[in-house]
């Protein structure tokens, strides 16, 4: 049914290799923002942000509420298009191609970028159908069951649900639901996975399972994760970007550097909890 909407026309990824701005990050760039400004009506949510996000690494976006982290994330897969009043200026490059170019189909773009939301949002369908959703809409004609199994394993959920693939995804616990959403996101084999505070609605045990999982995911995918939780960012990410009020990117560096020896006083204050 969805053959007509196939996605293989978008872009190839391996275009650009590391930039000289960040000597400590010799990796290839997966996503790059250039002079990005985002407005909701007259209100500015992202203020002139430029950054390069390395491939196969975990990049954390941290900062106080309302500083534009989610907005930034939504620019990458153009989910901001769904918000009528949202206006984006500047470039977001994904594999060297500006996703805001006129010839980019946002639907095709999103098939290469998975997304996991704050609140687990499995579909009211069976576990199998949840994971196979992306395959179904993309008209995947390989072995769906094998893919479902592989993805559930990738999301560290297979052992818990292998006997109940046909029961509803809503019957799972919150943490399992979130891992189901991760399985759903990785099933179509995207290149980047965006996560918007994926553990903030979960209890600590469930959250730590997801944290472990994120580590593994970075072997295959580029993970960009928004988090409120400083320890979490420190534990799981390779690179950390600190946004502060007004949508400004204040500091962006290796995670160890940010947490041990930040350049900016404001960042240190924020990390040590003096404000934010």
């Amino acid at each position: 049914m969805s053959n007509t909407e196939s996605s293989d026309s978008l872009i190839t990824t391996d275009v650009e290799t590391g930039s000289d701005e960040h000597a400590v990050a010799p990796d290839r760039t997966a996503v790059a923002a250039r002079d990005l400004n985002v407005y909701y009506g007259d209100e500015q949510a992202i203020d002139d942000v430029s950054m390069e996000i390395p491939e196969n690494r975990v990049t954390a976006l941290i900062g106080p509420s309302g500083c534009g982290k989610s907005t930034f994330l939504r620019c990458i897969n153009r989910m901001n298009d769904m918000i009528d009043i949202c206006r984006v200026e500047g470039d977001v490059e994904f594999g060297g191609k500006n996703v805001y170019d006129a010839d980019v189909d946002p639907v095709a773009l999103r098939r290469k970028i998975g997304m996991v939301f704050q609140k687990p949002n499995p579909f009211p369908k069976s576990i199998r159908d949840n994971v196979a959703y992306g395959l179904k809409i993309q008209g995947f004609d390989g072995d769906v069951d094998a893919r479902v199994k592989e993805s559930l394993k990738g999301a560290a959920l297979w052992d818990e649900v292998k006997d109940q693939l046909d029961s509803s995804g809503l019957e799972l616990s919150g943490g399992q639901q979130q891992r189901l959403c991760i399985a759903r996101a990785i099933a179509p084999d995207p290149e980047v996975i965006l996560m918007d505070e994926p553990t903030s609605a979960l209890d600590p045990v469930a959250a730590s399972k997801i944290e472990d999982l994120i580590d593994d995911l970075a072997e295959e995918y580029t993970v960009i994760i928004v988090t409120h939780n400083m320890q979490q960012a420190a534990r799981i990410s390779d690179r950390t970007a600190v946004f502060l009020t007004g949508g400004r990117l204040v500091e962006y560096d290796d995670t160890t550097k940010i947490f041990e020896d930040p350049e900016e006083q404001r960042v240190e204050d924020y990390i040590t909890g003096k404000f934010g």
């Binding site: 909407e5 769904m82 095709a108 773009l109 999103r110 939301f117 009211p124 959703y133 959403c181």
Partner: protein, 594 residues
């Protein structure tokens, strides 16, 4: 609830008091008003029932006989299923105590206050105590395992029969031969192509199914006048309906049971339908012909599938005895009444009322053509308003922007739809008369004109309730689907519509309930009050149940105005309740499915 917050002055000893007088007054006034409304309706229904079944002429012996052979065993069945000692004790208490109480109060009122027309204390007992108690016990009993099985079986038998009959009615006007060609040339190849693609992993073949089907149907339309020998109607029903239904039943059973069970679940009802339908006349079974075939297949297959499931689960199997209990009870009752010669009522509503045409003598009057008209009209209205309503609401909710010129236009449209819902039905009648009957020349009072008019009439309600259902689908789910790279249409089809479906169904059914009882727009577009034979094309002159009832209410003979009208009203209500009940079941199932 209204609660008042008038604070009194706090005294030194305590916290003082907060006056709730206004809240309490409000509470009791609303309670009183609703009780009064329901009471009035109940009284009306009681009298309508009494008239329709001629219960004034039922002798106490007659009532007692059926009470003992039908009501008591049924109550016992429900109580057994509920398996609740306390409930059984209370039910017995209510039955016994109620008898005394009603008898005393009734006699007292008759003696000291006023004569109560057309009611005896036995009837009063029936309506005030027995029916409500039976309703309650049924409700409780049906949630038990045994009761659930019993009612599930009875429901499938009755529902299947009703659907089978409704299909037979539809084939009075829809061309069975065209359906035969379209099914053979369009639907079968399309299904085959789809299945081939699915099971042989050839997506191409699945995609080809729709075009193959469309071409086949077009060819069928073209060939219909060209070909002039056709199989008999019974054979057409067998090939196009009974066999696929049996196959579907077998597939359902096959998915969870053994191969033999699957073949039995599909094969036994199919064989029965074939024997009775094709050879019933020859074998002298008393029943036969295409309609019998249809009913047996449509009611039999789901029943067989259900039986397999119950036996498989092995729980509450004894509940399957419920239909037997009821049939035996009715037969024994009839025998006893016959043997002792108890004076029995002569109900206005009986077999011939349902199956015969209107007449000038009340005793011969029948509702058949009007029932057929209503069924056909409702079927068309259901399809039209569902498609239009869902289409429009999906468009308004999922596709139009909220801002800019499009947003403003949408809001304008929205306000207009809300206002359209408030326009009197006569005005829609006028619209139907002008647009469909006159301008488009679809004819006065034809099924097409009437259905289009009624669809238009309920469209605003369908749209608004469907919108409500669509809006209640959490945005999270849409975002989740969008972020997977689904197109708007894929999100709508895969996520939004399945979630909204139960709500959409509820709204549509409520609206249909309104359409089935409408008279004013029917009068406006020239529907007949009385037709003497069932229509056999969509462009015949139609009548509908409310029209016929309205006509009878104006006849000079009292028997028409009381008995026949009451019988018509009861028929209408039964069909309506049946329709709503089916819809509620479907909806509950859909809700459970998700």
């Amino acid at each position: 609830m209204a609660t008042d917050t008038d604070t009194g002055t706090a005294s030194a000893e305590g916290f003082g008091e907060v006056s709730r007088v206004r809240g309490i007054i409000f509470e009791y006034l609303s309670l009183g008003a609703s009780v009064l409304g329901i009471f009035a309706l109940a009284v009306l229904l009681v009298y309508v029932t009494i008239d329709a079944f001629d219960l004034t002429n039922a002798s106490p012996e007659w009532l007692l006989t059926y009470f003992l052979t039908l009501v008591v065993p049924f109550l016992a069945f429900c109580l057994y299923s509920a398996n609740d000692r306390e409930l059984t004790r209370r039910a017995a208490g209510v039955l016994g105590g109620g008898l005394v109480a009603v008898a005393v109060v009734f006699t007292a009122i008759e003696a000291f206050v006023t004569q109560i027309p057309r009611l005896s204390w036995q009837l009063a007992y029936l309506f005030v105590v027995v029916f409500p108690l039976t309703g309650y016990v049924t409700y409780v009993g049906s949630s038990g395992r045994v009761g659930g099985v019993g009612f599930g079986l009875v429901g499938r038998l009755i529902g299947g029969t009703a659907i089978g009959l409704a299909l037979a009615v539809l084939f009075l006007v829809f061309d069975a031969r065209l359906w035969f060609l379209a099914y053979t040339l369009g639907i079968v190849p399309a299904l085959a192509s789809y299945a081939y693609g699915r099971f042989r992993e050839r997506p191409g073949a699945s995609t080809a199914a729709v075009p193959v089907g469309i071409v086949g149907v077009l060819v069928a339309v073209f060939l219909r006048p060209v070909i002039d020998t056709y199989p008999t109607t019974a054979f057409i029903y067998l090939w196009t309906l009974a066999i696929p239904i049996a196959a579907a039943g077998a597939l359902v059973v096959g998915a969870r049971g053994s191969r033999t069970e699957a073949i039995a679940a599909g094969g036994v009802p199919l064989a029965l339908a074939t024997v009775v339908g094709l050879f019933g006349g020859i074998l002298g079974l008393g029943v036969g012909g295409p309609n019998a075939l249809l009913v047996i297949a449509v009611a039999g297959v789901p029943t067989a599938v259900y039986l397999q499931r119950v036996f498989d689960a092995g729980d509450g199997v004894i509940g399957l005895g419920l239909p037997v209990l009821l049939v035996v009870g009715a037969l024994v009752g009839a025998l006893v009444v016959e043997a002792f010669g108890f004076p029995a009522p002569d109900p206005w509503i009986d077999g011939s009322f349902i199956t015969e045409a209107p007449s000038r003598t009340p005793a011969d009057a029948g509702l058949y053509p009007a029932i057929v008209g209503s069924v056909i009209i409702i079927a068309m209205v259901a399809v039209l308003s569902f498609l239009l309503g869902v289409g429009t609401s999906v468009f308004l909710e999922e596709y139009t922007a909220n801002s800019g010129i499009v947003g403003a236009l949408t809001r304008l449209l929205q306000i207009n739809i809300a206002n359209l819902a408030a326009i009197p039905s006569v005005v829609y009648g006028l619209l139907g008369l002008g647009l469909f009957a006159n301008l488009l020349g679809l004819g006065y009072g034809t099924a097409v004109t009437v259905s289009l008019t009624l669809s238009l009439l309920i469209l605003p309600i369908t749209i608004i309730s469907a919108q409500e259902a669509i809006r209640s689908v959490p945005d999270d789910l849409r975002r989740g689907s969008d972020a997977m790279g689904a197109t708007r249409w894929q999100t709508t089809k895969n996520v939004v519509l399945p979630e909204a479906f139960p709500g959409i169904l509820t709204g549509t059914i409520l609206a249909l309930g309104r359409a089935i009882g409408e008279t004013a727009p029917l009068i406006m577009v020239g529907a007949a009050t009385t037709v003497f034979s069932a229509p056999n094309s969509l462009f015949d002159k139609y009548s509908a149940m409310p029209m016929q009832i309205y006509a009878w209410a104006g006849f000079p003979q009292a028997d028409f105005r009381y008995g026949v009208v009451a019988a018509g009203v009861i028929t209408l209500l039964i069909i309506l309740v049946g329709m709503n009940g089916t819809a509620i079941l479907l909806r509950n199932r859909a809700e459970r499915g998700t």
